[in-house]
């Protein structure tokens, strides 16, 4: 790696990280696993003057049970998410999606917080936490604040975090009994980003869909919910025809990109096909 020059700090507490960030203006970047930022540095697409390495902040690592929700530290790695018993038991969608990120080396270094704060619409976890209705916790000079997942992603590679804020973790409501899930990731090779990803959660009751939540990866500058499908599928019979019909609305309101791996119309088509598949799987069909 031959990046441009930068200063480097490795704070020993979140408060110290916040104060280093506050003293560094707009040109500081937080680095954790480095799996998104390092490539940008290497290609000189990012020129931060200061890197604040939060890798030593063990208080940001791990998963705890808060009764109705799980609290997951920002430094929890993708690999840990795939293995954690609490995550697997109460929000298995997150464990499943984390297991599809890149390759084992990336999953061992990359972190949940880094993936969310990078806000790449092609990243897998943003759409997943949007579907899970998670809440993100940030700490800044003014203290701690909670941000709903739907409001966290502001634009392409942009979040609603203030420059002085550190993402410390997320809070995910536990899924109760009856919920199923599926993350359908469509990509050209095992290590590649999703061309489209569909994060589906659904609860089944008496052969019908009681409720469903669908998050879409890479269908616009930010992860979105397939609201039209969610509405259409609620109360529908659990049969392939009905689910396909509801999924036909999946791309409504999206604005997918056109790039080397897929033009926008193809992505819209994929979103519809994959949503049907994800819902079908989530409902145990």
């Amino acid at each position: 790696m031959i990046p441009a020059q930068f200063a480097y700090a490795r704070p020993e507490s979140v408060d110290e990280a916040v104060s280093v960030l506050a003293g560094s203006g707009d040109e500081a970047k937080v680095i954790a696993g480095g799996q998104s930022l390092v490539p940008l540095l290497r290609l000189r697409l990012a020129y931060p003057e200061m890197l604040v390495d939060v890798g030593g902040l063990d208080e940001l690592r791990g998963v705890s049970d808060e009764g109705g929700a799980l609290r997951i530290g920002a430094l929890t790695t993708h690999y840990d998410l795939t293995r954690d018993p609490l995550v697997r038991a109460h929000c298995g969608l997150l464990a499943e999606a984390a297991g599809t990120v890149a390759d084992p080396a990336v999953r061992h270094r990359g972190t949940l917080g880094g993936s969310l704060a990078h806000a790449d619409p092609a990243g897998d976890l943003p759409a997943v936490i949007v579907a899970l209705d998670a809440t993100l916790t940030a700490r800044g000079p003014g203290g701690e604040r909670q941000i709903g997942a739907a409001n966290f992603f502001a634009d392409y590679l942009t979040t609603s975090l203030d420059p002085g804020e550190v993402l410390t973790g997320i809070r995910v409501p536990k899924l109760g009994p009856g919920w199923g899930y599926r993350y359908e990731k469509f990509h050209r090779s095992a290590q590649a980003w999703a061309i489209v990803g569909v994060a589906a959660l659904a609860r089944r009751e008496d052969g019908h869909v009681a409720e469903a939540r669908v998050g879409l990866t890479n269908m616009g500058p930010v992860p979105i919910r397939a609201s039209a499908t969610e509405e259409a599928v609620a109360g529908a019979a659990v049969d392939p025809g009905a689910l396909r019909e509801a999924a036909a609305h999946a791309d409504e309101g999206s604005s997918p990109p056109s790039d080397l791996h897929g033009a926008a119309d193809y992505r819209r088509h994929l979103a519809r096909v994959l949503t049907a598949r994800a819902l079908t799987a989530a409902l145990g069909e």
């Binding site: 031959i2 990046p3 441009a4 020059q5 799996q35 998104s36 390092v38 490539p39 940008l40 290497r42 290609l43 000189r44 697409l45 990120v101 890149a102 390759d103 080396a105 990336v106 990359g110 993936s115 990078h118 790449d120 619409p121 092609a122 990243g123 392409y156 590679l157 469509f186 050209r188 090779s189 095992a190 290590q191 590649a192 980003w193 061309i195 616009g220 500058p221 999206s254 604005s255 997918p256 990109p257 056109s258 790039d259 080397l260 791996h261 897929g262 033009a263 926008a264 119309d265 193809y266 088509h269 994929l270 096909v273 994959l274």
Partner: protein, 834 residues
């Protein structure tokens, strides 16, 4: 990963106690791997010399532009910077990068300055450089260089480039050469032919992706220059550096340390090598350059990039009558070491393993404002094999025949060898029936056809396709006489020395230059058998022109069939020399001695004998040698092959195609290859596995894409997709062994076979799956989107050739389709990084 069946008799070592050592055919673990896999070696970028400086190159952001001015003043003033230069600073001494293969007398061969002086002709061409104390300072200072460009129109499409009013890449025009040959009466073959099939296939542009990117270190010591380079061709490079720079050849030493792969990309004399040498001379300090993957993608020579118009005439019973091929081959902006020769290496291969009455071939080399193309694994032969194997499937479909049956109808039968083809090559040996029968059995061809029929009947969203490729190729480059006839600038021989050390150990010096192939192991096996010494007692030296002074290096699956044969020849000379000295030691007449591996003994009195180790020690002491006998067993051999090597085989691929998404999944893949006598089955498997993976890469994943301004878009592994083990099926490999009759070891080349064979097998499988939907072709790479669009078009009654695909951008959606958003630039991250 391998499910393997072998017919090879040589799969096992000879039973102990027979008195013979049989190393050839043994599944030896490679002796070089400990060092390579644990990093106990120096790759070029690990080399650090006292006072070493680092060079970084500034590359053109324009595909085509005139250079008005280059100002390096500010860069020179940057901290840590020692020097900065523009092309004008080198104009008097840099010469022109060489092309050793002027295929025609009237070929247009433009000047190719290592650093552009007046004009740049592809994005990525070097325009300036900075030399600094470390590579960070060098990279930083590049940003301070001010270049004033006057943009010129890019030339991106080969067909358009040949039109009268096209912008010109070079003043002499966009056509470099036209080369043609034919055999038989083509008009007669096509006249009244009951079946004529015409197709256009596109060989997309590929980027070789060796695991180790390129790197060079050059140091001037006294009046000698030493260059370490991650190259396949230290010997050729030395000669060419002398010719380009005027530095006398005997004052140049080139070292290829351990090299992490090449696939043809390091069969080159690069601008970076020449400039690093000139900088070391100018500054009197060692200079290093090492590329990043992104820099490499836009600067290493590319591969393939042909537009193939192919026409086949046949009888109703499937018999081939004639074949005509008209190629456009993209040279890129300049001719590099063997650029124009690559399509010629395919010219003799479009007829494949088939008999026919007539064949004609024509190729036009076209200049574009893109990175130059040159050799990439298979070089010309994958392109040819793809075209013939794809169109054979089209013929089978047209006639309602099984694809294997139409092939069998036409292939050369085993009893017909040696067979001179319509292209004029004499195939020495082969058994296409045996390889195909075996592949069919392992693949369970008939069962899969049954399942395919069921899925078709059920209108399953996931269809099954079976793809066939019965390939051969010409390799083992090459008989010098034929290279001369093809206007190549060098010969095709190889050199070897065998040195007997006093303790009976053996040093083998080879002119082959290993960069991952396992020469040290294979050569040790050959020598162990030949001389009757333990495998462990052999050491193989290579890759340094001071250690191995003569060689033609490694490419074109030539090492074993040429270099390995030279090693065996040198061993034979050692044995003959040892005979004379053994006779003196045994006080017997040389003619009364007989050789058993490792030992000369008196015929009829086997107890009276001397081992090669004893003879070596006696030769070293030299106390009692016969008069006139020099005290040395060491021997050289230089071998020039009489013929090419023709490995062959049958590859079968079963692919599942998701017709809703376009996703292709390879379900099973069977390769039965006949590479003649197998020296090391493990190495052969490795070559076949890697080759298949690379061919699958072309079929499904890889493509160098340029935008309409001529910028390379696929500069990282996020955009230039390579398959990894996670994307590939278990390869089922099998072998038949029909020894080559053209060399004493019976060996055939294997380095490129897998790549050559696999691409058409995979694409044929994809098309076979989709035929009921009306799809007759999908342009490579068969990405999910391309497959999906082919299905959509077929539903509308349109079935385009892959030749219809635009070369400047993949998978363009219909014009009426509005794009919702712009291209997503953040994914310019390198492979696997999130």
């Amino acid at each position: 990963m391998t499910a393997e069946t072998e017919t090879a008799a040589g799969g096992q070592a000879a039973p102990a106690g027979t008195g013979t050592i049989s190393e050839i055919g043994r599944r030896r673990v490679r002796k070089e791997d400990t060092r390579l896999l644990t990093g106990q070696t120096n790759w070029t970028d690990n080399i650090r010399l006292p006072g070493m400086l680092h060079v970084a190159f500034l590359r053109s952001p324009y595909a085509h532009a005139r250079i008005s001015s280059v100002d390096v003043t500010a860069a020179r003033g940057t901290v840590g910077v020692i020097a900065a230069f523009s092309g004008a600073d080198f104009a008097a001494e840099q010469g022109s990068l060489p092309c050793a293969w002027p295929v025609t007398e009237d070929i247009v061969m433009p000047d190719h300055p290592p650093m552009a002086v007046d004009e740049v002709r592809y994005a990525g061409e070097i325009v300036a450089c900075v030399v600094a104390r470390d590579r960070y300072a060098a990279a930083d200072a590049l940003e301070a260089i001010d270049v004033d460009y006057g943009p010129l129109p890019p030339v991106l499409d080969m067909t358009a480039a040949l039109e009268e009013n096209s912008p010109k890449v070079h003043a002499a025009g966009n056509k470099s050469f036209e080369w043609a040959f034919s055999g038989g009466d083509l008009d007669a073959a096509f006249r009244d032919a009951p079946v004529v099939i015409e197709r256009t296939f596109r060989q997309q542009r590929l980027i070789p992706s060796a695991m180790e990117p390129r790197a060079v270190v050059c140091a001037a010591l006294g009046d000698e220059y030493t260059m370490w380079s991650s190259t396949q061709i230290p010997h050729v490079l030395r000669v060419m550096l002398a010719l380009v720079t005027g530095i006398p050849e005997h004052q140049l030493r080139v070292i290829a340390p351990d090299v992490g792969g090449g696939f043809g990309s390091k069969l080159q004399v690069t601008a970076e090598e020449v400039l690093t040498l000139l900088l070391a001379r100018r500054l009197g300090k060692p200079v290093k350059w090492a590329e990043s993957r992104s820099e490499g993608n836009m600067a290493v020579h590319h591969g393939r990039d042909q537009l193939q118009r192919i026409k086949l005439a046949a009888d109703r019973d499937g018999r081939l009558r004639g074949l005509s091929v008209d190629l456009l081959a993209d040279m890129g902006a300049y001719l590099m070491l063997v650029t124009p020769g690559v399509p010629l290496l395919g010219a003799f291969m479009f007829n494949g393993i088939y008999k026919m009455d007539a064949y004609s071939f024509r190729c036009t080399g076209v200049f574009t404002t893109k990175v130059p193309t040159d050799a990439y694994r298979g070089a010309g032969r994958p392109e040819a094999t793809f075209a013939i194997e794809r169109i054979m499937d089209e013929l089978a479909n047209e006639l309602g025949m099984d694809p294997l049956a139409v092939r069998e109808r036409n292939w050369i039968r085993h009893e017909e060898f040696p067979f001179t083809t319509i292209a004029g090559l004499t195939y020495d040996s082969g058994n296409y029936e045996a390889a195909t029968a075996k592949a069919r059995e392992i693949f369970r061809y008939d069962e899969l056809r049954k399942e395919q029929a069921e899925r078709r009947a059920a209108n399953s969203p996931v269809q099954l396709g079976l793809g066939t490729s019965t390939y051969t190729e010409m390799c083992g480059l090459a008989p010098s006489r034929i290279l001369g006839q093809l206007a190549y600038g060098a010969g095709g021989w190889e050199h070897a020395s065998v040195r007997m050390l006093p303790t009976g150990k053996v040093e083998v010096v080879t002119g082959s230059s290993a960069h991952g192939q396992g020469h040290e192991t294979a050569w040790s096996q050959i020598v162990a058998d030949r001389l009757g010494v333990p495998f462990e007692d052999v050491r193989v030296l290579h890759g340094d022109t001071q250690v191995s002074p003569k060689g033609m290096d490694t490419y074109g699956s030539r090492s074993l069939t040429v270099g390995g044969v030279a090693v065996a020849g040198a061993c034979d000379k050692v044995i003959e020399k040892a005979k004379v000295i053994a006779a003196a030691m045994l006080e017997a007449a040389p003619d009364d001695l007989e050789w058993s591996p490792g030992r000369w003994s008196v015929r009829g009195d086997p107890d009276q004998g001397k081992t090669i180790a004893e003879i070596s020690l006696a030769t070293f002491a030299a106390h009692n040698l016969p008069d006139g006998i020099e005290p040395s067993l060491d021997s050289d051999a230089t071998y020039d092959p009489d013929n090419f090597s023709f490995p062959h085989g049958t590859h079968l691929c079963a692919a599942e195609v998701d017709t809703e998404t376009g996703q292709v999944m390879i379900r099973s893949y069977v390769a039965v290859d006949d590479v003649g006598t197998v020296v090391n089955p493990l190495i052969v498997d490795g070559q076949v596995h890697g080759g298949i993976a690379q061919g699958i890469g072309q079929a499904l994943y890889e493509e160098a894409v340029y935008d309409s301004d001529g910028n390379l878009v696929t500069t990282t592994m996020a955009d230039y997709l390579l398959p990894s083990a996670a994307d590939l099926p278990v390869f089922q490999t099998g072998r038949t062994e029909t020894p080559a009759t053209s060399n004493p070891l019976g060996v055939k080349g294997v380095g490129e076979a897998g790549t050559i064979a696999s691409t058409p097998a995979v694409v044929n499988a994809v098309i076979d799956a989709l035929r009921p939907l009306g799809v007759r072709d999908v342009p490579m790479p068969c990405s999910p989107e391309r497959v999906w669009r082919a299905i959509q078009l077929a539903r509308l009654g349109r079935a385009p050739d892959s030749g219809d695909a635009p070369s400047a951008a993949p998978a363009t959606p219909p014009a009426s389709q509005a794009h919702d958003a712009e291209v997503n630039p953040a994914h310019d991250g390198e492979g696997g990084a999130r």
